[in-house]
Amino acid sequence: MALARYLGRRAIWYVVVLFVALALNFYLPRLVPGNPVDAIVANLTRGGGATGEAARETYETYMREFGLDKPLWQQFLIYIQNLFQGDLGTSFAQYPASVNSLIGEALPWSLALQIPAILIGWIVGNALGAIAAFKGGWFDRGAFLSSLFLTSIPYYCLAIVLLYVVGVQLGLLPVGGAYSFGLSPEFSLAFFGDAITYFWLPFWSLVLVFIGGQAVGMRSMAIYELGADYVNYGRGLGLRDRTITRYGFRNAMLPQITGLALSIGAMIGGALVTELVFSYPGVGTLLFNAIGQNDYPVIQAIALLITLAVLAANFAVDILNGVIDPRIRAAQTGER
């Protein structure tokens, strides 16, 4: 019951945040002076052909097509209505391609890169941090400093260095793209075997930095817990080390789960640029191209997608926390 009430309140909260995010997403790009349709029409008429009357007609058709002739608040309502129907609009730059299809092509690559990186990075990072905190000494110092170094390097810097050393200098792995020229994406062993060689470098540059961040966080939490009163008390009772560490690490896990939601947000941002470094055909590369061409519908759609992903991750973490941490449920109902 307490859990349901807690989750209900969180759900309402996320709906409010989502609305604010939608409004920002809609209004901010419209602060641009001038009009994207001008650019398209200018592009069309550049080759000669349509001038004067014809250009004006084209202009008005596009204004209608993109709904830019209506007042702003109506545009916003239409935007929201379309979103709920799963329609992200039409790309300006690659007209008449729909944003849905562009994102549909790019998204699987990004997901294939980031989901394994997040899961593996989180597990390995936390294990490393916990061991470092428990062992102490030189292992701790080494693990801590290298984790701190790894997590402080921006994703793309590690990506560039890996690309240069492993891809260019050693020539071990291909240097860009997601699959060999001449192949097309399909579910076959041959394609998978080819694509995986392109996958390793971006994957490692994401996962190494992520491991570093998680290990640093886990180490501080575990040190904090190992100095706690219940640990001292347990030692006094003569509990075995294994039992004590189990208690300690279970407590240290909680903030790490909360931290996971935060780091997913940072990771998605970093992954955008990492994809650029490797010309990996994911959302980051799509965003880069869209920015270069002032393709607002695509930029907005990607911004929305990332916001949704981060909100969903946060909500999932809230649910998880509510299930595993009784204090949170108690705090919500005032039983504390």
């Binding site: 409010v16 945040v17 604010v20 995010a21 920002l24 901010l28 419209r30 641009v32 701190l148 997590t151 402080s152 390097i153 921006p154 994703y155 793309y156 810097c157 560039i160 260095v161 240069y164 260019v168 240097v175 860009g176 961040g213 640093v216 966080g217 501080s220 939490m221 040190i223 904090y224 100095g227 706690a228 009163d229 909680l254 903030p255 909360t258 931290g259 935060l262 780091s263 947000g265 940072a266 941002g269 970093g270 955008l272 650029l276 965003l287 880069f288 920015i291 270069g292 002032n294 607002y296 930029i299 907005q300 911004a303 990332i306 916001t307 909100l311 204090r327 108690a330 705090a331 504390r336």
Partner: protein
């Protein structure tokens, strides 16, 4: 803060940071070359003929060395301005929200939490897309105005706990105004935290700028570390093996980010004895101190990491 408490880690961080500051502050006068001047061909390899050629030329035949020192200067400027703005906003909102309480707290907390839930990088991208002219200072302000929420929340949590202490009552009884109490009786308790948060904000802002530049939203008409990387990648310097074009900005960004994080973590150990480990005596003393502080701070947010830990993961822009 005693000098003896400073770990070797602090000195390493200070040395790296000093090196960077020196490059950014004095470098341009020593290299003495316009970063926009063409002094060679496409990706001329480094040679010792002049300081400007120490790192060869980039895709436009400009001196990489000159670009690097001016780029460091821009990146540091963006970091400091954005860090100062974000810290200022975060501290003010957090202090007021935590100290005043009531409906003002509700409103400010709601704003903070909403802003916290929306990824900062996305807001910065959306605003930058809308900007017509992007100078380094404007970008810094945009970053500063969007990067404050986590700090506001952390400061709020701490100022609510300071508010209940007795010396605040004394100050109030003696007729001090709220603003004086905030500045003289509440803020000093948070100062160590604010200093560390500022360091993290600077580091995050420098990385945000680099990320924006790499996405093609960097400051127009000026050179920054991110802009250098943007051109290096756009012209395929990594694939052609022109290491002098992309390694210097990569290394400098890593050094800046690493040294600031190291500085933050070593300051953390100075301010926060709990994290200092080693001798048993120390640890036992720490345990006692911790017990006291736990009694004092009835933590309002259950199940959350101690506020100090979260920023490491929020340092966005990577």
């Amino acid at each position: 803060m005693k000098i003896s408490n400073l770990t070797p880690r602090f000195w390493v961080a200070a040395a790296l940071l000093g090196f960077t500051l020196l490059l950014g502050a004095v470098g341009p006068y020593i290299v003495n070359t316009d970063p926009n001047a063409v002094i060679g061909g496409l990706y001329d390899p480094p040679n010792g003929s002049s300081i400007a050629m120490w790192l060869g030329t980039d895709n436009e035949g400009q001196s990489v060395m000159a670009n690097l020192v001016y780029g460091i200067r821009t990146s540091l400027w963006v970091g400091l301005v954005a860090g100062a703005v974000a810290t200022l906003i975060g501290v003010i909102i957090g202090l007021v929200s935590g100290y005043v309480g009531g409906y003002i707290d509700d409103i400010l907390s709601a704003i903070t939490n909403i802003a916290l839930a929306i990824p900062t990088l996305i807001v910065i991208i959306l605003v930058s897309v809308a900007l017509q002219t992007r100078t380094p200072t404007i970008l810094a302000l945009v970053i500063g105005f969007t990067a404050w929420p986590w700090l506001a929340r952390a400061v709020r949590a701490q100022s609510t706990s300071v508010r209940t202490r007795e010396h605040i009552d004394v100050a109030r009884l003696s007729g001090a105004r709220s603003i004086t109490i905030l500045a003289w009786d509440v803020l000093p308790y948070l100062l160590s935290y604010v200093v560390m948060a500022f360091v993290l904000q600077v580091s995050a802002a420098i990385l945000f700028e680099a990320t924006l530049s790499l996405l093609g939203l960097g400051p127009s008409g000026s050179v920054s570390l991110g802009i250098m990387l943007y051109w290096a990648i756009a012209w395929g310097s990594v694939r052609t093996g022109a290491w002098w074009a992309f390694l210097p900005p990569t290394i400098m960004l890593s050094i800046i980010s690493f040294s600031l994080l190291l500085l933050q973590s070593s300051l953390d150990e100075v301010f926060n004895p709990r994290l200092r480990r080693g001798k048993l005596r120390r640890r036992r003393a720490a345990a006692e101190e911790r017990a006291d502080s736990q009694l004092a701070a009835a933590s309002p947010q259950v199940g959350e990491a101690p506020a100090i830990e979260t920023p490491v993961t929020t340092g966005g822009g990577r």
